[in-house]
């Protein structure tokens, strides 16, 4: 829709100095008052012009993410995007989850890191197909990388896809990958005020896993306070308190996965 007048056309509109604006493809043009530039100018300089664009800057990524989402839906693949700061235990959580559920839920994994095959090597030991994306200097995965990765992984129908994003609590928040659920992992060795410090990530998540709860006796981490902070940012969040290492609390997480991955 044209933002200048509200007439219905989704195509890009063009507006030149001293001219009517017109829409491509909708076969009409009409006048508007001159737009406000906040500066004076000479109308004889007709080659200086402003092109109205009105496009989402992340539009290309969002479009590709929707394409991924459609593909996952058609194949009944339940896709999860795991995000967190480095060292929260995402890979251990995945190793344990896959080792326990791989017979019940056929799975595949996409690993994202700047460098190394280390995480993919760990996941491969569970016998689950895995692909490593090394982003080089990149700080997040994007929808196009996921598209390329699942093409190579050849996903099974009726399965789950776990995407472990680059360890970074800032950048991945802005990039939709086409996942069904975004899961933010926080470990108790971090501060319980992380949701307040990195609200964009908690705002963009559906699930919050609090990991390493076996270490609670040794650290100053108030689980209830952390949950309260996270809910202040995003009151839709659902929580799991687990220790991927000892297995404590993991049963609830497995049950949630079995319920949502309808395989």
């Amino acid at each position: 829709m044209c933002d200048t007048c509200g007439c219905g056309s989704d195509s890009t509109t063009f507006r030149k100095h001293g001219e009517d604006h017109h829409h491509h493809g909708d076969g009409h043009s009409h006048n508007h008052d001159h737009h406000d530039h906040g500066h004076s100018h000479d109308h004889k300089h007709t080659q200086d012009r402003t092109i109205t664009i009105e496009q989402d800057i992340l539009g290309e990524n969002n479009l590709l993410a929707q394409r991924n989402r459609g593909y996952f839906e058609a194949k009944n693949v339940f896709a999860i995007n795991l995000v967190s700061s480095p060292g929260s235990g995402k890979t251990t959580l995945l190793e344990k989850t896959l080792a326990t559920l791989k017979e019940e839920i056929p799975s595949a994994v996409i690993e994202g890191d700047q460098q190394t095959m280390n995480d993919a090597d760990r996941i491969a030991k569970t016998g689950v197909p895995v692909l490593q994306i090394n982003t080089g200097n990149g700080c997040h995965l994007d929808a196009e990388m996921i598209h390329t990765a699942y093409g190579e992984l050849k996903l099974q129908d009726n399965s789950a896809l776990f995407i472990e994003n680059v360890g970074n609590l800032v950048c991945p928040a802005l990039f939709d990958l086409g996942e069904d659920k975004r899961v933010v992992v926080i470990s108790v060795t971090e501060g319980d005020d992380k949701p307040l410090k990195y609200p964009t990530m908690f705002d963009a998540a559906d699930i919050c896993i609090i990991n390493k709860i076996d270490l609670l006796p040794y650290v100053q981490f108030d689980v209830e306070k952390c949950k309260e902070y996270a809910l202040q940012v995003n009151h839709h969040l659902e929580f799991f308190e687990v220790s991927a290492t000892t297995g404590e609390g993991m049963e609830t997480w497995y049950n949630w996965l079995k319920e949502h991955a309808k395989v």
Binding site: Q55, I57, L58, E60, N61, C139
Partner: protein
Amino acid sequence: MHEMSIAMSIISIACKEAEKDGASSISNIELDVGKLSGVMIDSLNFCYESVCKGTLAENSTLSINEVPARASCKKCNHTFEIDSFMALCPQCESYEIDILQGRELKLKAVSVN
């Protein structure tokens, strides 16, 4: 620094549109950036300068309109301006708010010649 990817997307969209219009260069790019968009304007400006080199947008300026954030309270339906995701409803003090505006990240217009 995701601002680099964002700056690259901006230049890619702007150059595509400018080429379509037969423009020889871009003098200014106008953006709407919401207060809760997750983008740091200083970083974006920094990345923009390096990304536009060697493109139609070389030496162009970036005009950023900061879009204020607004929310509505799920409990009492009050709508109000907010500074962060952790805002309280000023009327009933509930944290259950829906963000209405402030996540924008939009390329508004490109000035060319």
